[in-house]
Structure formats: C-alpha cells, structure tokens
C-alpha cells in the first residue's frame, strides 16, 4: 500500500487529492488547521475506501515540521508521496503595504513552512523510490504584479526551492518532483470572484496531478493552456504592462 502525506488536505485541491489517493488505496496522513474538517474527511475516506487515514490539526503558521514528520512516520511507517498543497492568499489586501503580521503569515504558510516540512522529510524522500514530491505554485508567481504581491513572491520562492529539490533528488533513487503553476481552481480561494479565465474543478486538477505521479516533470502549468496565457503576459512590454490592471 502506498503512503501519502498531504499538507493542506481539508479543503479544495488538498481534499480532492485525498479522495483520489484514498480511492487508489493509499494510506493517508492529512494535515490542516482544523480538526472539525479533518475528522469527517478521515471518517469518510476510511468508510468508502477502507484505507487508514490519520489526521493532524496543526497551524502551518506555527509549524513544527519535526512533529509532522514524527507523527506521519509513526502512522504510516514510511512515506512514498509528500504533497504540499496548503496555500494562503489575501488578494483583496495584498496590493501595496500590508501589516507586517500579514506579510509574515503569507511568507510562512506559502513558503517557509513548506520548506520546513520538505526539509524534515528529505531523508525519506531520498529513499522513496517510486515516490513523489508535489508542490502547489501559482500562475500569480510568474510575473510580478501589483496584486498578490507577497503571495506571488512566496510562491515564486517555493518554485525555486522545488527546483533545488529536483536537482538534489535527481541522482538518488528517491522521489520524483512535480511542481505545478496552478491556474484558477473552483475552490473557496476564488469563490464569488469574477475571473478572467475559467477555473478548473479541484477533482480534475487532482486527477491530473495523480496521473503525473512517477514523472520527473519539474515545473509545469495546470491546466496546460496557462502556458500560453502566461507566455503572452510575460511578453507584454514593460511600457504597456505597467499600465495594466491585472
């Protein structure tokens, strides 16, 4: 039985991944901040798919990566897949000066907590042959804009760290690395917002991510057509780009 750890598993894409992996028979270790969401999900997946699901309610803002690792290993006996899906954005305010606490929160949850967790699992990942290290980035990080300033920066930092992980793991018989520049997802993060492009259902995103397990794909867009959109955006000359409200 495969063993997967999902950080940010109680809602949105993380929850969809938990369902998908449970359906494939993976035993799971799920992390999010609220036990009230995690416990029902664990019950549901256990009843429907007969897998072992252990949960840990932990706030990534005050992450104890050592504890996550210790609990995950004691529940699963090892780790094949580590999926770092949690993210936190505040698009309504993340445009210009925000409070230091908010900067800290966004950098911690999107970047430093993620690095801490991967770092804690590196020994397992180095030996997880056939395993996967999956990261959730964002198209918001591809070209800096006046919206999602800190969020975009944190996700770009995360992308850089995943690139390094891919390099570090490249010559080892360990996990393969997949990092996704995600486009809009139909989740609470964008609920009620008017979006310029269609949003992908989290189940479809989860299906695509799991389909790429085992592949050494590095960074890629999900859905793929975002490549075209972001390439065009990157090609917009600065004199025009600086006038755009995007």
């Amino acid at each position: 039985m495969k063993r997967s750890v999902i950080i940010g598993a109680s809602a949105g894409l993380g929850r969809a991944l938990a369902e998908r992996l449970a359906a494939l028979g993976h035993n799971l270790f799920l992390v999010a901040s609220d036990q009230r969401d995690l416990a029902p999900l664990a019950g549901d997946l256990t009843i429907r798919f007969g897998v072992d699901v252990t949960v840990l309610a932990a706030d990534l803002y005050r992450v104890d990566a050592g504890l996550i690792r210790e609990r995950a290993l004691s529940a699963l006996g090892g780790v094949d897949n580590l999926l770092l899906i949690a993210g936190f954005s505040a698009p309504a305010i993340d445009r210009g000066a925000i409070t230091p606490e908010m900067v800290d929160r966004m950098i911690t949850i999107n970047l430093s907590a993620m690095i801490q967790v991967v770092n804690a699992f590196l020994p397992e990942l180095a030996n997880a042959q056939g395993g996967n290290l999956v990261g959730a980035g964002s198209v918001a990080a591809v070209r800096g804009r006046r919206s999602n300033m800190v969020y975009g920066a944190a996700k770009r930092g995360l992308e850089g760290y995943f690139e390094s992980c891919r390099h570090w793991l490249a010559n080892k018989a360990g996990a393969r690395v997949q990092f996704y520049r995600l486009g809009y997802l139909e989740t609470q993060m964008v609920f009620g917002q008017k979006l310029p492009f269609p949003a992908l259902h989290p189940d479809a995103a989860a299906a695509a991510i799991v389909a790429h397990f085992g592949q050494d794909t590095g960074t890629r867009y999900l859905p793929r057509w975002w490549w075209l959109v972001m390439t065009l955006i990157r090609l917009i000359p600065w004199v025009i780009f600086k006038r755009l409200e995007i």
């Binding site: 109680s10 809602a11 949105g12 929850r15 609220d34 009230r36 969401d37 029902p40 999900l41 019950g43 549901d44 009843i47 429907r48 989740t187 609470q188 609920f191 009620g192």
Partner: protein, 439 residues
C-alpha cells in the same frame, strides 16, 4: 456572492446572496440575518432554498460519511451528502436507505427538510420516519442536537420543515437490508383512470414498487389509458454500482432547454411513450439503480418544457373520495382544454397527517402541465376540487399554491407556523416558498 437561482419548474427566479462554505469555522460563523436558508442541490420544483434578497447557504461541501454501523444498521452523514454517494457506499454492503427520492444528486438535507417519499409508501412511509437524530445550526441557538427523545419538538419541526428551523448539519439515518441485487420489472396495461386507481390499490401490497403512467395529453378525450409498472427486487449477481453521469442543474443555461411539449405534440409523444411502455412489457431484469433513481437518464424531460417551464400538481387523494374525484377531474380538464404532459399515480398507505407533511392514506396523483394561463386556471380549479374531497397538495412540488389553499388542506399549517415562531421569534430562516405560504 450575488447569484440568480431559478426553481426547477422555472417558475420563480430570485437574486440572492450565495455562500458555499467548505470549512466548519466558516459555516458556524454565519451571522443572524433574516432570509437565511440552507440549500442542498436546489432540485426542489419550487423556490424552497432561496428568496429574493435572502442568503442561501450551499451545503454541497458538507457531504461526508461520518460513521457506519452495519450491524445496528445506521449511518451518520453530513447533510449535504447525496443519495447517489450513499448508494455507492451502501449497496455493495447489502444495505440501503429505506426511502429514497428518485434522483441521485438530491441531498439528505433536502430529503429531511422536504420529508420526501420513496418507492413504496405503504411499506416504508416517508423519509422522516427513518431519521434517528440530527444536529442543527441556528445563529441564535448555536448547534443543537435533536432526536425523537432529545429536543423532540424541534426535531419534529425540522422533519418536513423546509429548512425553516436552521441548517441541518448532520443526521443519523436508519438503514434497511437490501432485498435483492436486481429488479424484475413488468408493465401492465390499463384502459382508464378508473382502472388505474383500482389496480394500483389492488397491487400495492404485492410488489416492491409500483406506479402508473397515464395518458391525459388529449384533454378532450381524457380516458387516462396507460400502464402500471410493477417491480420486485430479486436476488442476482452482486450489484454493479455504476457511476451516474448527468446532473440536473436548473441554474445553468442549457441549449437543450427547448420547448417541445405543446398541445399539438403532446398527444403524439404520449401515444408513442405508451406504445413503447407496452411493447417492452416484460418481465425484464433491470439494474437496481433503475428502481431507486428512475429519473436518472431522463433529465431531458425537464428540458422539453423549454424556458417557460412547467407546473406540477401532486395530490394525495383519500381512497374513499376517488370515485367522485375522477369524473370531476376529467370534466375540469376538458373545460380548460389543458394537455397534461405527464400523469402518474402511486399508492400511499399508513401515513399520518402532520404539519405540512405529504403523508397519509390514499393515492398520490401527479400531473405536469406546461406553464400558461389556461394551465393556471385549471390548477386553481383543481385546488377547489382537491380541497373539497379532503386531498392534500404536495407543497414542495407546486409553485403557485397559495397560503389559503394550504391552510384549508393541511390541519398542521398553523401548528408549523406557531412552532417556528416559538423556536425562532425573529424568524431568521425563510425562502420564497415560506413567504408564499405565509409560514
């Protein structure tokens, strides 16, 4: 988010605020504002889960199965779980919900709040009979546990209470053993409405499911010939739990929503349907899902009324009134000249009249007509007939039913209204349906 919701019969459209929380902390943070109402899949024919300027709380994300006790035969679920999801979990374990509405995306919350009926009322009664307990959220009262023994009055008001007591969070439901893995189905011709009522009454104790499909598409010759479908579950190979494809979405624009049902086409369509029904008379084996969710695969039916939509009247006629009812019904149908797109008949037995529950003894007689002036005049005329014979109209199916008619047909109208006012003097929860019925 501001959203436009339309009832399934396309009769009522409202702009309201819509929230679809996916975490408990967001759900329990819902503030005390008037016009709140929970929404399951929005498949009620009437505007039961929204109102103009109100706030609908979508429960789709709260769809997890919390506990299952196969020995004691109960399941605990979040209220947004669909009947289709439960089907996939329960059927392979040889279990089922005793009462199920006919479509896979209908939620448990919708079944409790609408106190829906299933395939064999005489044997299983209505959905509420199998609810062992529930948890409800009301912004003024917090989270309350209710069951027949704990907060029993609130429990009673919540079953068939159209979401007006608060948001059902979780429920524990009794389960029944699965009688068989397959279904043997057969159709029997009937030549008239009279024969259909007689045969449905006679056969109701002998089979697991029965309903009559009758042809009243020509209002000038409304004989009501058609066929009765009877079904028995039989043992067979282990059930293959197939995925359900389509889902009805009354709020999405759909190019297939084209008006095909008209006075000129309906008699032909009904004739064809009757011939098809009789040609494949059976007996034949069909999958269990065809018995439990007969509307799956037939979603196009709702599209054929086009954008103007349809009106449904489903009435529970007491058995002793049937003989007098049929000729009078026919006379009014002919007088108004309204073709009926769909006519069905089921038997109800052993239920009790309570609040606004569509429950009791008799025959559940349903007609669907294209919305229009004549159709409304016919249904208003039938309201009088129904009231005079002691029949009850299913309130969650009929978008034009007035508070006055409901007051006259249901002895429990006042009890429900008073009970709601006592529990929630501010009456925070409400929908277009509750406003129309002056609840």
């Amino acid at each position: 988010m501001k959203t436009h919701f339309t009832s399934l019969d396309r009769h009522v459209s409202c702009e309201c605020d819509y929230h679809e929380p996916d975490r408990w902390r967001n759900l329990l943070a819902i503030g005390a504002e008037p016009g709140l109402v929970a929404r399951g899949s929005g498949l009620s024919y009437v505007a039961a889960s929204f109102s103009e300027g109100g706030t609908s709380i979508g429960m789709r994300q709260f769809n997890r199965i919390l506990a299952l006790n196969e020995q004691a035969r109960w399941i605990e679920v979040e209220a947004g779980v669909t009947l289709g999801k439960l089907y996939h979990v329960l059927i392979p374990r040889g279990l089922q919900l005793p009462v199920q509405a006919s479509y896979h995306t209908i939620t448990v919350g919708g079944c409790i709040a609408g106190n829906v009926h299933g395939k064999n009322h005489g044997r299983e009664g209505v959905f509420g009979r199998h609810v062992l307990g529930l948890e409800l959220f009301h912004p003024r009262h917090g989270v309350i546990t209710a069951s027949p023994t704990e907060n029993a009055e609130l429990f009673d008001l919540t079953i068939g209470g159209f979401g007006l007591t608060g948001i059902i969070l979780r429920a524990r439901l009794a389960l029944a053993p699965l009688d068989g893995a397959e279904v043997e189905e057969q159709t029997i011709p009937v030549g008239s409405l009279e024969e259909a009522f007689r045969e449905v009454g006679r056969l109701q104790n002998e089979v697991d499911m029965l309903y009559a499909w009758l042809d009243l598409a020509n209002p000038h010759r409304p004989t009501g010939a058609g066929f009765i479908t009877i079904a028995r579950t039989v043992s067979g190979p282990p059930v293959k739990v197939e995925a359900f494809g389509e889902r009805l979405e009354p709020n999405r624009p759909d190019w297939r929503r084209q008006r095909v049902f008209r006075a000129a086409t309906l008699p032909w369509i009904n004739r064809l349907y009757r011939q098809m029904g009789l040609r494949h008379a059976g007996p034949r084996r069909v999958p269990l899902s065809a018995l439990l969710f007969p509307a799956v695969g037939k979603e196009f039916y709702f599209h054929l009324f086009g954008e103007p939509g349809f009106l449904e009247q489903q009435v529970l006629i007491p058995s002793p009134a049937v003989d007098g009812y049929i000729p009078e019904f026919r006379r009014r149908l002919t007088r108004h000249g309204v073709p009926v797109a769909l006519t069905t008949l089921k038997a109800f037995k052993g239920g009790r009249r309570h609040l606004l529950h569509y429950d009791g003894d008799g025959f559940s007689f349903t007609i669907d007509v294209c919305d229009g002036r004549n159709a409304r005049a016919l249904l208003a005329d039938l309201d009088d007939l129904n009231t005079s014979v002691g029949a009850m109209t299913c309130v969650i199916k009929d978008s034009r039913l007035s508070a006055e008619v409901v007051r006259r047909q249901y002895i429990g109208w006042g009890e429900l209204r008073d009970g709601l006012a006592a529990f929630d003097p501010e009456r925070l929860f409400g929908s277009a349906l509750s406003k129309r019925l002056e609840l």
